[in-house]
Symmetry: D2
Subunit: 137 residues, 4 copies
């Protein structure tokens, strides 16, 4: 991995405030902290611009609800090119936490979330919008 070294000029007060925050967060260096902000801004842009992205779809449902397992499985098979694997946790007697690892175009992943959302009996669905890391060094 090649590093580029460059200099930055920022207001001295701003640098002081940023250093205090970095220290409070246990972040080792200014370069690490600035790099994190840059990477986050690039990942937000990947999702906005519809690039290939990766992440997780997280659902909670009561497996007793009529037909929900069959319906969720049907949607997932329709979208198998994008769903890499599934993690299932029995939260209690009734509730399941199911996490789909996904990778594909941002719009396709958001479309899967919409389709699953329409399934009757689902309690909650949310998306962790991550990255494939390929363009994020």
């Amino acid at each position: 991995m090649a590093l580029t070294r460059f200099s930055v000029s920022l207001d001295s007060d701003l640098v002081g405030r940023f250093d205090a925050r970095i220290k409070a967060d246990g972040c080792p260096t200014r370069s690490k902290a600035l790099g994190d902000l840059v990477r986050e801004s690039l990942v937000r842009r990947e999702w906005r611009e519809g690039d290939e992205v990766a992440g997780a779809i997280v659902m909670v449902y009561d497996h007793h609800k009529s037909d929900i397992l069959r319906r969720l499985t049907a949607v997932q098979h329709d979208c198998h090119e994008v769903i890499i694997s599934t993690q299932h946790i029995h939260l209690d007697h009734n509730n399941c936490l199911e996490i789909l690892a996904v990778r594909g175009e941002a719009a396709i992943i958001q479309g899967i979330v919409q389709r699953i959302k329409a399934v009757k009996g689902l309690k909650h669905i949310t998306l962790a919008a991550g990255t494939t890391g390929r363009e994020i060094a």
Copy 2:
């Protein structure tokens, strides 16, 4: 599961617009769509008020980066009461997508995200803020 049936009075134009949206989204009934909005508002509140919640922490990193595997494992072991299980995907030769299924107090889970964020070599981290479903019928 007991159902409560009650009536709602809303502006007729608003109901018309909402019905159009529901139909476009493939949502089967008004009750399902209103229930989804209610559940989402309650889950947001669980996170704001620090209740017990569930969800997923999603990380992307290059496993070649010096020492990152040891550091990530160390944080995860410190927090093993909250991390239920881990799903690991080899995105390509360099990049790993790692998804931690989590359950615990909202503030503890957000603290883990902060700790992992400080690990050098991590490319991206994001949180899917879900629910245990226990209070969300």
Copy 3:
């Protein structure tokens, strides 16, 4: 204004939890609370789909910074069809809070935010994404 009255069936526990939240928030009725959730979901959609929207662009800057007043004025005049009026508050000797009331297509308003963001000397800019109210009864 015509009202439509319809009935909704939701899980009894969910209704109980929602009622508790409504009461805590000082919201007068279930119809008001459900209507608010419906309206919020429709306004989010207006922004996503690029409809005509309204809102406010909120900037903070130090008016001593060289040339910033001229630059901000130039951008605003370029976009005068969308900027309805401006509110300016002298926060202290250095800092100005400037609030632009805006109305127009969602993408145009977001483009103005991007253009202003590039102006040197600006400290912060953020957008309140509201509605014209025409489609939100």
Copy 4:
């Protein structure tokens, strides 16, 4: 204003991607773009930690709705220490866009939003979370 000049080491690919984004956004220099990311992260933190902040509360309502003007005025007078000034736009025959410039503790401002939200007849309310600029150089 004193400037601090320091150097940063980031992965060369990351710098290349960031430079492309900066150019596309019309941002003049890397220092400006990095400074913007730092300032945004500090303002998010001001809101999270309950510091003194500034911003705008943006409401839309139909002024014909019974009693809404009296109710909104009552809340605003209760909170007059925090509301600096108000901008009112007649969007059409029915709809008003009202923008409150606010300054005070983050929790107090969020509490005002909750109180206004409970007013019957309000169509939409949203908050632009800005800064006083005092700690953001």
